[in-house]
Symmetry: C2
Subunit: 203 residues, 2 copies
């Protein structure tokens, strides 16, 4: 796509560098920006620069943070006994949004995946072990995706953690809330039947 | 969606202001930006600011332009005799990309649409008439969409332009190149049959 304006061309080219945004969408976004006041464009641009310049990774949990230690890790009202191990930053947000977890997090930064060239040495495993060694943690919850790579990672970490006296849990797998059985895939449904749990009237 | 980092929160909120981009996509874009070098973020931010600050509307054709008169209008190698009237900037780009038109453009800035409160006074019609009055233009081509509003606009402009000795054309309507008859809508196909043209072996 060629434009007669160089300013438009470079704006569109730069927007289209972002993942999932083609030239046509980039053009639509650029033309939308024209309809907004200049201050809105400045705000968008500055918050991108600010974000990129100032954001840090929390030295304790590896989550995105505004300071050296993130808001979650520096909140001493949370439960010290439970640590939730997740794959990446997005998963911290997902778990936080459930409001069902009050402990601390540890972001691995990926899962073991030989096909993608990711081995244990590429993940934040040493710092996880260090945390466990301090003795405050009583339970580690693995909140990882339900993929082969995540299962491998849990298996690997489980072996490393066996010698410490802590409970190791994984999040429950089964049919989603609201799912119709008819449309549930066979493997999930089969597993849900095998791993059935005693009925509790409150759930 | 709540984030523990204020920097992330404001970046996501600002990106999600753009049309068609929700919070989830905004988060994905923000996390993608983190993977890029800082210079790439600066370039994106600066080209947005530059674009918004410096872009102009061409005083001759109303197209987006880097200067008072756009590159197309200031190119004196184009054909002075033909003027292509389009609805908006995107249509200039669409027609230019065909490389089939060598004349000049006039961007109306919309079409007459009473339901949206757009009347003739909201469009760049006076400057179109001024151009025609100069006497250099021999043909006006309406390259507007095939909608009721566009047809109304052509009808209105046609009446205004009747008294000047110029040819008034509209772009051809019919089945698209590569279309299968079976899947063409009835109205388009019916019209294509009514408006059939003599066969030429070169087309």
């Amino acid at each position: 796509m060629e434009f007669s304006s160089k300013l438009l061309q470079s704006a569109v080219d730069d927007i289209a560098q972002l993942p999932g945004i083609g030239k046509r969408t980039a053009l639509r976004l650029a033309l939308h920006i024209l309809k907004l006041p200049k201050s809105a464009t400045n705000q968008l641009a500055n918050s991108l620069i600010d974000f990129r310049e100032k954001i840090k990774f929390c030295e304790s949990c590896n989550n995105l943070s505004d300071s050296i230690i993130c808001d979650i890790c520096s909140n001493d009202k949370r439960e010290k006994e439970t640590l939730c191990v997740v794959q990446d930053i997005r998963d911290v947000i997902a778990v936080e949004n459930t409001q069902q977890f009050k402990g601390y997090y540890h972001v691995l930064g990926g899962v073991i995946s030989p096909i993608d060239g990711v081995g244990p040495q590429d993940l934040k495993i040493d710092s996880l072990i260090e945390k466990v060694k301090k003795g405050e943690i009583k339970e580690i919850i693995f909140a990882l995706s339900s993929t082969m790579e995540a299962e491998t990672t849990i298996f690997y970490l489980h072996k490393l953690l066996l010698k410490y006296k802590i409970v190791i849990s994984v999040i429950a797998k089964g049919i989603s809330v609201g799912d119709e059985l008819e449309y549930t895939d066979e493997i999930t449904l089969g597993r849900s039947i095998m791993k059935r749990v005693p009925y509790e009237s409150s759930t």
